[in-house]
């Protein structure tokens, strides 16, 4: 396991726990009580650390290398999940995955950014930075969901859409814009969850929906703290400050009314208990789909229009003339 700077106090405790478990497995010594003591200590320490995280720490957690990614959720939430590839036009983007699966017997079309679990896979997944084909594959799958009346669930986890020559040639901007336009009027429910990083248009490109949620230790912003620092402070050294001023945490987003709710993670973050996190997300999705399925396609679209129409903070001056 990887321990972030502020998680360091937990490292020793996890080591002790691991050793005790080994002893328990390899011998006849009963370690149950001792394990319980360590687990309680981990809990208490985690509570302390996690009750007061700042923006930058949340950003680091969202990028934690042990954090579950999209395919982990999909293959574990659904008894059966079939991944579907390609945009039927140019190629198969590896940074956005999609497919069909069932939760409690109901078919759902899933789409999500995918990051790699090791160096080789991170490159293969282009670090979760999609090219236009990723957004077009997503749209193809959404249109299929619409045809069959299946809800769409999007899992967002990207440092941004890929800034490359080919991406521009094939219309990165058009691909994202088209998704926004089509998602606004898709006739089936759309649920969006930020499960890691929610950076800019690359996140929003699969992020417009009836309900948008953020996992507890994630962020959502128009720009990453690093890029913000480099543009506004003209140096990379102000990322912590940038993370604060951008107000990018789930709490901030909920307070601004830009997301619908926060999905709690297991104590210590999604990365310490994948199974529990999968269970939490699965039951959340199930409940949300039940609620949204009572709305007609027209009602869904009407509500979506209303929801996004209200987003913004401005003043309306009294007309003087």
């Amino acid at each position: 396991m990887v321990f972030l700077e502020f998680e360091k106090p937990l490292e020793k405790l996890y080591d002790q726990l691991e050793k005790l478990r080994q002893v328990g497995e390899e011998s006849d010594i009963d370690v149950t009580d001792k394990i319980k003591v360590i687990e309680d200590k981990i809990k208490a320490r985690s509570k302390e650390i996690f009750s007061n995280l700042n923006g930058w720490q949340k950003v680091q957690l969202s990028r934690h290398p042990n954090r579950p990614y999209t395919l982990h959720y999909l293959t574990n939430m659904c008894k059966k999940f079939v991944e579907l590839h390609g945009d039927r036009n140019y190629s198969d983007d590896k940074a956005i995955v999609g497919g069909i699966g069932k939760i409690n017997g109901d078919p759902i079309v899933f789409i999500g950014h995918q990051k790699g679990i090791n160096t080789k896979m991170r490159q293969y997944r282009n670090f979760g930075m999609a090219n236009p084909e990723g957004y077009r594959k997503a749209l193809r799958l959404m249109k299929m969901a619409e045809r069959f009346g299946y809800p769409v669930v999007c899992l967002i986890d990207t440092p941004g859409a890929y800034p490359g020559i080919e991406a521009e040639e094939r219309g990165q901007a058009e691909a994202i814009a088209r998704n926004l336009f089509e998602m606004a009027q898709l006739k089936v429910p759309i649920l969006c969850y930020v499960i890691g990083e929610g950076a800019s248009g690359g996140a929003l490109g699969i992020g417009l929906g009836d309900k948008v949620f953020m996992l507890e230790n994630t962020w959502y912003s128009v720009i990453s703290p690093e890029s913000c620092s480099s543009i506004l402070w003209r140096s990379w050294d102000h990322k912590e400050e940038a993370a604060e001023v951008l107000k990018l945490t789930a709490d901030n987003m909920l307070e601004f009314g830009l997301i619908d709710d926060i999905v709690k993670e297991p104590l210590g973050g999604a990365h310490v208990d994948h199974a529990k996190m999968v269970k939490i997300l699965k039951s959340h999705i199930k409940k949300q789909i039940e609620e949204l399925s009572t709305l007609s396609p027209d009602e869904l679209i009407e509500h979506r229009l209303e929801k996004y129409g209200k987003m913004g903070a401005f003043t309306v001056k009294k007309t003087s003339s």
Binding site: A161, F181, E182, S200, L204, V222, L232, W233, G309, M311
Partner: protein
């Protein structure tokens, strides 16, 4: 109509127009490899294009309104202004940035909306100003586009946006990001009412603006040699660590790759839009 706060006499009022025009009498052309000097008057008489190389000098929202509308037009929603909801501060506070932008441009924000007629056909136009914090899209831009679309729906007229922007306004963080969703959602509504949307891109059109309303026109068109793209050239260069090809992310590049319907010279702009308005209306009414 509370927000129809002022009627503007397009051609004769000069106070707000020409604000993108360079200071001083002489103006050095920024066209690639040109560098010739023109007087402001020469430029003005040539649609703010260089008489030598046809370089299209950046102009402002009111310049386009003056150029396009038949005489009078009505400025709308100027009473909507930015609010520093995040208390944003980098090297400068957002409030200070706004204050200096107001002072520098005499504009209420990075977009202005006007309703009027082009070749006798009604149209609502929202035009952006790059001089106002880089033409950045914040909540005000989103709200004004949103209300402009409502106005177009109300009078059943086509709608047009003249984009000129560096992208989303960082100082409004997720609020500015959500304006991409808001404007796209609103354009979907316009489309469902079967009213045409013309997206006109000018130099520069990048970032969140391109990845939302700029690319969503029923007709997408641009001025010659404008920079149009999603990621900025500098960011791409830093990412791929090699030089960018000649002509990359220009209007001509986008036309070639299938993302524009056509490129139009500023001198022909009014007629071209007039043609579109005519072609998108039934003559049997």
């Amino acid at each position: 109509m509370g927000w129809f706060n002022r009627l503007k006499d397009g051609i004769t009022t000069k106070t707000k127009s020409k604000r993108e025009a360079p200071d001083g009498l002489w103006h050095k052309c920024k066209g690639k490899g040109c560098g010739k000097t023109n007087t402001l008057k020469e430029l003005e008489e040539n649609y703010y294009k260089c008489p030598h190389c046809d370089y299209h000098t950046r102009i402002g929202s009111y310049d386009y309104f003056d150029l396009l509308f038949d005489g009078k037009y009505e400025i709308m929603f100027d009473n909507i202004q930015s609010k520093d909801i995040l208390g944003f501060e980098d090297l400068k506070t957002y409030e200070d940035r706004l204050k200096s932008a107001y002072a520098k441009t005499d504009l209420p924000d990075a977009i202005s909306v006007a309703s009027g007629k082009i070749n006798k056909k009604p149209i609502v136009i929202a035009a952006m100003d790059f001089t106002f914090i880089g033409g950045s899209m914040g909540s005000v831009v989103g709200e004004k586009i949103s209300r402009a679309i409502d106005a177009a729906i109300k009078i059943k007229s086509p709608f047009m946006i003249i984009s000129k922007s560096g992208g989303a306004r960082m100082m409004e963080s997720a609020f500015s990001l959500m304006q991409m969703a808001k404007t796209s959602t609103k354009l979907a509504q316009l489309s469902r009412k079967k009213l045409p949307y013309f997206s006109f891109m000018t130099d520069p059109t990048t970032g969140g603006v391109t990845a939302s309303y700029a690319m969503l026109g029923d007709i997408n068109f641009a001025e010659p040699k404008a920079l149009i793209g999603f990621a900025g050239p500098r960011v791409i260069k830093e990412t791929i660590k090699r030089d960018l090809p000649e002509g990359f992310q220009t209007s001509e590049f986008l036309l070639d790759h299938g993302f524009l319907d056509f490129i139009v010279n500023r001198a022909d702009l009014k007629d071209k839009i007039g043609d579109l308005l005519d072609l998108f209306s039934s003559s049997n009414k």
